[in-house]
Symmetry: D2
Subunit: 126 residues, 4 copies
């Protein structure tokens, strides 16, 4: 996330925001933020949200997600909010939304459902 | 895709391969290729596969996808294959798989189901 | 839906509730409502929610959905709420949640993201 | 599954077929098999496929799935094939396809990606 300039701007139990300023080098051919980047910041927000409810030594891995891209990612900045729907011992189900900020308006541009998995320190998948 | 060093290595009607050599700067904390990059190359392969069956002036947009991450993305190179399951006038449904190549072995690391949408030249979503 | 005893209990622009009383013959081996039935009532609520924002002569078809099953479907009755996230000319993206009602408590048991497609009267897919 | 007349017609390690003859009472308003029934038979085939690779005392639960409905479910019979992509200790990822059989032809009508979870005998979710 730091590679693309994203940072965490809000942390609460089961809820995390990741914010990304617009950057020319992350756009696709029409000047919008690339869909892969949009998915990545929502995935990160969801993963961090899951982590807030896991034991201190846990690592989190994305098991799977589905994303719907709703509108072109046009804006001055983007916020992804991840939110835990169900925290389990092994699996945590999260929902995430991405918003574009432009001229003081906040518009929903993508939404995700993601399953996160608690992993031991080595971060290896099941 | 060119930003991350990926390139198309196979094109047939309804089927496209995208290949990405391993790069240190695209890894996460455990040295594996970042899940967001894995998803992005499968999404690209699926989008290009859909495009091969669309009219010449069409652009393609990802409407939605779901990805399951099966194994850590460890390897010398990665290949994503996109494949059209159903080509429609508006929507094209695709399946994509990503493989890690290591020591001459090819291992399935992620799989995707994606819906692509044919768009007019401006690339704006519905 | 009428076959399984479900009925619409709330309709507003972009939002519909479908309610299903518990029935012995819709359970699986552990006495919980079958996951297929849970998915079907959320899918229906999402489809009807999409229909509220479509032209009067439109029919609605489910293009795709993803569902996460969060908890066993144990309860006296079940409510699925469908909600439109983005209404488009061709595609409408919806979110749906299912709740179990038991002893006056309402518990989230499943959540869905679904893409609905407006169809002409014959109801044929693209 | 027996309630709707479906039966298992093929079992191999990691692969199961479920077959359903056409039934008038499982159709929607246009005379096609209801999408909820299509999803349910693929989900079952995927669950059974996962079970073939689990320990003898394990039960299987659907954690989540995504389904794309590709064509109207018109036919004399329907076959769903579930196939394991990755068998893990806790999670098993499966792919499933449903086909309509009509006049000796076999047509792909829906496809699914599903995550199955091994459960202890009581079948309770995590």
């Amino acid at each position: 996330m730091s590679t693309i300039g994203a940072r965490v701007t809000h942390v609460a139990p089961g809820e995390v925001d990741v914010e990304l300023p617009f950057r020319d080098d992350l756009t696709q051919q029409h000047g919008f933020l690339h869909a892969g980047v949009v998915a990545a910041i929502i995935d990160s927000a969801c993963g961090y949200a899951a982590l807030t409810l896991m034991p201190p030594d846990a690592a989190v891995l994305t098991s799977e997600y589905k994303v719907n891209l709703l509108s072109p990612a046009a804006g001055d900045a983007f916020i992804a909010r991840g939110h835990v729907l169900k925290a389990g011992r092994t699996l945590t189900v999260t929902r995430g939304d991405a918003f574009a900020l432009k001229d003081g308006e906040k518009k929903l541009i993508a939404t995700m459902l993601a399953t996160m998995m608690a992993a031991r320190e080595r971060g290896l998948r099941d």
